[in-house]
Symmetry: C2
């Protein structure tokens, strides 16, 4: 009988437990701050097993990082499969996509940005490997500008501002929460409403009402 390589139905499960644990620990501590022991504890197994499955800390980290990176960017591309004819809907979808994603993974931006700054030289390879290209969104924005729905500006810059407005509130969360909101309650409120807030802020800046020109 020619079953797949897996001879033990627990194999994948163990590997996945490690990956999940590693994701948690690396995201919070970064590469330098993470400890293999902590990942083992989090996964509820022995430290030696991590090396059995992934050889080294570096290789385990690479797996986690590539996966994280994939989750960080494509949000913006995938939303473009929706109706392109109204640029407001596109912007709304992008903002919603980011905000929703960040609710479940609030540590992601800090992790990605921290590690990318720690090792900027590897970014090129990383992007090449991921196969991600921002072309779709650039095209959509440019077309909207040509249709007169968007203020004319460099589409690259608009993308940066768009992502920045979604991501920065989460990135600087401890700082903002403490500095501007003393208690956490009001800040929770802001985070909950920021789909609307960010969308409004962007639209007021760049969207042109084509029904009432002038």
């Amino acid at each position: 009988m020619d079953y797949p390589q897996k001879t033990n139905s627990q194999d994948f499960s163990q590997e996945q437990l490690i990956l999940d644990a590693a994701m948690k620990v690396f995201m919070r501590k970064g590469y330098d701050g993470a400890r293999m022991q902590e990942i083992a504890d989090e996964a509820g197994m022995n430290k030696a097993l991590l090396h059995y499955y992934f050889r080294s800390k570096e290789q385990l980290f690479q797996k986690i990082f590539k996966e994280s990176f994939r989750k960080f960017w494509p949000t913006i591309e995938l939303t473009l499969t929706i109706d392109n004819s109204d640029i407001r809907k596109v912007i709304r979808a992008i903002v919603d996509g980011y905000v929703t994603m960040l609710e479940t993974m609030p540590y992601l931006p800090n992790f990605i940005i921290g590690e990318i700054n720690r090792n900027p030289g590897k970014v090129a390879d990383l992007i090449k490997d991921s196969g991600i290209k921002p072309q779709a969104i650039i095209t959509a924005l440019t077309q909207a500008m040509n249709r007169g729905e968007l203020v004319r500006m460099n589409p690259h810059e608009l993308i940066i501002y768009l992502i920045g407005l979604c991501v920065f509130p989460v990135l600087a969360r401890p700082l903002i929460g403490q500095m501007l909101y003393e208690n956490n309650e009001a800040y929770q409120q802001f985070l909950a409403n920021r789909c609307e807030s960010v969308y409004d802020f962007i639209c007021r800046s760049v969207c042109i009402d084509t029904n009432n020109p002038g």
Copy 2:
């Protein structure tokens, strides 16, 4: 003769050399990634001297971090000593202040945000120690809203967006540069022009032209 404690005119200079070196290394590598040996090399002196002057890595780090934090935030408060009657000038001054500061210290935001996420519990003390309060800017924004110069919105949110738009392009620099600008030249161009670009983006969103109401 009662000269000050300093019997050796080099004392201060040595201490300062260490602080400068530590700033460089901590900013790029973070606490976990930084090595006392590397700081010593950067300062051009022996590793043991770091401990002689600052006792431990932790204490040296605290000095650097508090100093960095002081540089990161007050930009926004200090600019408020300028003319408050035109909110556009205030916004312009804040954006200029941040962008200029970031040109000389591009690693600052990543450092601050990374370390704050690494140790969120200490943020409250840090802010208390620094004595920084965002009250002046909040008041200025609220007054401008009451005068009808600004769109009505939560002033806290506006501050977050303002800082985010200035800071994010630098934070995500390696990512943006590679993903959106393949070569470095066009990105340099964007960074050079972003005082204007960010200012325009914000003003279009929130500033109301009081000469032509309606």
